[in-house]
């Protein structure tokens, strides 16, 4: 059996390309290494970390740090491995993070879709003015509104409640509106015209026609906003410090400050950090393609 050989000669890859691949490899390494290091430290015995700081493998492999962080270890066990006996009520904080992130995402996506449709497809007086206002809202640095919002929550008695953490983000975020408006404007009008001819009103068009068609961007938006809500730190720190509503990011900050009188509990901290990042990592593994492809979509326009 004769195989047809391509007559292209084998060329040695140009030097530039080799350097490029090395550079790319370096970027990849620098990106991945800290994650590995987190894992390596979390699986080490905290008290013995100082004895072999440059070892690439865990020092005295143990799950002690995770047990400590999850509150499974006793105080003696914890302190024997360099911990302070403080634990991260992981499941409770995880629950809180889920509630907060889900509520915020649901509100932002739903109300954002409504508003985006109004901007994209409906005609009404003041539309441009309001759009411009929302645009301005994007420019305001969060800290500027967070202080007065904190006072507002205080006045309403919503400090240390889920509502207090969720409300400022719940009703609107300029990004969601812009993101969806862009998409809605791109939907061809024929489908709408057809539905209108069938006698459907605007509301029905929105819910029965537009929304189902937008499941893709809606899902992408939901994922992006979920991740952002999950990673919020400053606002939940201000408004939700109490154990009952504390989210994972804030809990991590607290855990960090609970260092024992001696050396910081590095192993425990890395275990806590890993656990705090785990849910997002899982979401990412499932939705990586969507997330990656969504970046830049609205950036170029």
């Amino acid at each position: 059996m004769t195989t047809v050989q391509k007559t292209r000669p084998r060329v040695r890859p140009p030097l530039g390309k080799i350097f490029a691949w090395i550079a790319m490899g370096a970027f990849m390494l620098i990106t991945i290494f800290p994650f590995y290091w987190m894992l390596r430290t979390a699986l080490s015995n905290g008290a013995l970390l100082a004895t072999d700081p440059s070892s690439l493998l865990p020092v005295d492999f143990t799950f002690g740090a995770f047990e400590r962080v999850l509150g499974i270890a006793t105080t003696e066990e914890a302190q024997a491995q360099g911990g302070s006996g403080a634990s991260l009520n992981f499941w409770g904080y995880l629950f809180n993070s889920v509630i907060v992130a889900t509520a915020i995402t649901a509100g932002q996506v739903f109300f954002g879709a409504l508003a985006a449709y109004a901007f994209a497809r409906l005609r009404w007086p003041g539309r441009n003015a309001v759009f411009f206002l929302f645009l301005l809202a994007l420019m305001v640095p969060p800290i500027f509104t967070q202080l007065p919002n904190f006072l507002l929550m205080r006045d309403l008695g919503l400090i240390n409640t889920y509502a207090g953490i969720v409300l400022p983000f719940f009703f609107m975020t300029p990004f969601a509106i812009f993101f969806l408006r862009q998409f809605f404007m791109g939907i061809s009008t024929e489908v709408e015209e057809a539905a209108r001819l069938d006698g459907a009103g605007n509301i029905r068009i929105f819910f029965r026609v537009i929304l189902p068609m937008s499941s893709g961007p809606l899902a992408t938006l939901a994922i992006l906003q979920y991740i952002q809500a999950w990673n919020e730190y400053f606002w939940p720190l201000l408004v939700g410090s109490d154990e009952s509503v504390r989210v994972l990011t804030v809990a991590l900050g607290v855990f960090r400050s609970q260092t024992p009188q001696g050396q910081p509990d590095w192993a425990g901290m890395m275990a806590a950090a890993l656990l705090a990042a785990l849910p997002i990592l899982l979401i990412f593994v499932i939705f990586s393609r969507k997330i990656v492809n969504s970046i830049g979509f609205s950036g170029i326009k």
Partner: protein, 321 residues
């Protein structure tokens, strides 16, 4: 820390996507339909408008009001006119935090933009695989707090792996978070690590809009990679780069999480960036009035930057057209 993902430049709105009404309206019918649409539109926009009014507009007004008062939360605010603003001029800590923030912003932007450009070009020329892009975006998905902790550990003076590496190479350990001159650059580096992938992907998306024939044409004329990069890629990327620059800048001014979890403003105020100073003033010194004044200043600065952006992107409708 940028809290928003990309901003759609308002310079390119819907091209008349609305058929200018039906061509043959009977006036009454059309007005009725139009009014109905208005009511529905208002209903649709109501929640967002409510959120905007209560959580953006009202706080802005209140914030500005408080900046003219002396308010410690436990007693009623006392109107003091421009006293807080006057204090800004003689406040050394404020001057220091402004300096620290600006230094941070500059380092962060420079580093992030150049590295992101480099990475984007690498990705564009070497591989378009989603896998690589997924890896690259990973740090961005992790909370600032987590990133800060991990690097706090890796850059530890005693037993952090980075210093171990430096010492292995023969150098002296660096007190990344403890040395006054290193503290801000270190925070900038940490945040760059987190945002690099995201910024690179933004630029990458921009690179993809550049048609391949431009490169083909250049290559047939014998242009080298380097020349193509500087003569074709960069100019055509200008709007994207401008956008990236502004997003990064606005985000950088609001760095807080990383500082809060690592240095808490130290050593000796070296990392007391503006947002951290505002937080400090409000919740430790119980000086909400002055804290609000500083926030107003920050707002004005960022508004100016945003205004500059609008000019830039409007003037720079892509050279492709």
């Amino acid at each position: 820390m940028s809290t928003t993902t990309s901003v759609p430049t308002p310079a390119s709105p819907a091209p008349a996507a609305h058929a200018a009404g039906s061509g043959s309206p009977r006036r009454n019918h059309h007005s009725k339909a139009a009014r109905k649409q208005t009511w529905i539109a208002l209903a649709f926009v109501a929640p967002s408008l409510f959120g905007f009014a209560v959580f953006y507009l009202w706080p802005t007004i209140r914030g500005i009001y408080i900046s003219f008062t002396d308010y410690d939360v436990f007693t009623s605010p006392v109107f003091t006119g421009l006293a807080n603003y006057a204090r800004l001029f003689s406040d050394e800590t404020f001057a220091n935090s402004a300096r620290a923030t600006i230094l941070y912003v500059l380092i962060n932007i420079l580093l992030q933009t150049t590295l992101a450009l480099g990475l984007a070009v690498l990705m564009h020329r070497l591989t378009q695989s989603t896998f690589v892009r997924s890896i690259v975006i990973l740090p961005y998905l992790i909370a600032n707090v987590v990133v800060a902790l991990v690097w706090f550990w890796m850059l530890d003076f005693q037993i952090g792996i980075v210093n171990q590496g430096i010492q292995w190479l023969g150098g002296n350990a660096i007190a990344f978070f403890g040395d006054e001159t290193w503290a801000i650059p270190t925070i900038a580096l940490v945040n760059t690590w987190r945002h690099l992938g995201y910024t690179a992907l933004l630029i990458f998306a921009g690179l993809q809009t550049i048609p391949k024939d431009v490169y083909e044409a250049a290559r047939t004329e014998g242009a080298s990679e380097w020349q193509m990069f500087w003569r074709i890629t960069v100019p055509l990327l200008r709007p994207v780069l401008a956008l990236v620059l502004v997003i990064t800048m606005i985000g950088s001014f609001q760095v807080f999480d990383t500082v809060a979890v690592t240095t808490s403003g130290g050593p000796a105020d070296a990392t007391r960036v503006i947002q951290y100073y505002i937080f400090d003033l409000a919740f430790q010194r119980l000086d909400f009035g002055y804290a609000s004044a500083v926030s107003v200043v920050l707002l004005v600065v960022l508004a100016i930057i945003a205004a500059v952006q609008l000019r830039l992107t409007r003037a720079n409708e892509s050279d492709l057209n």
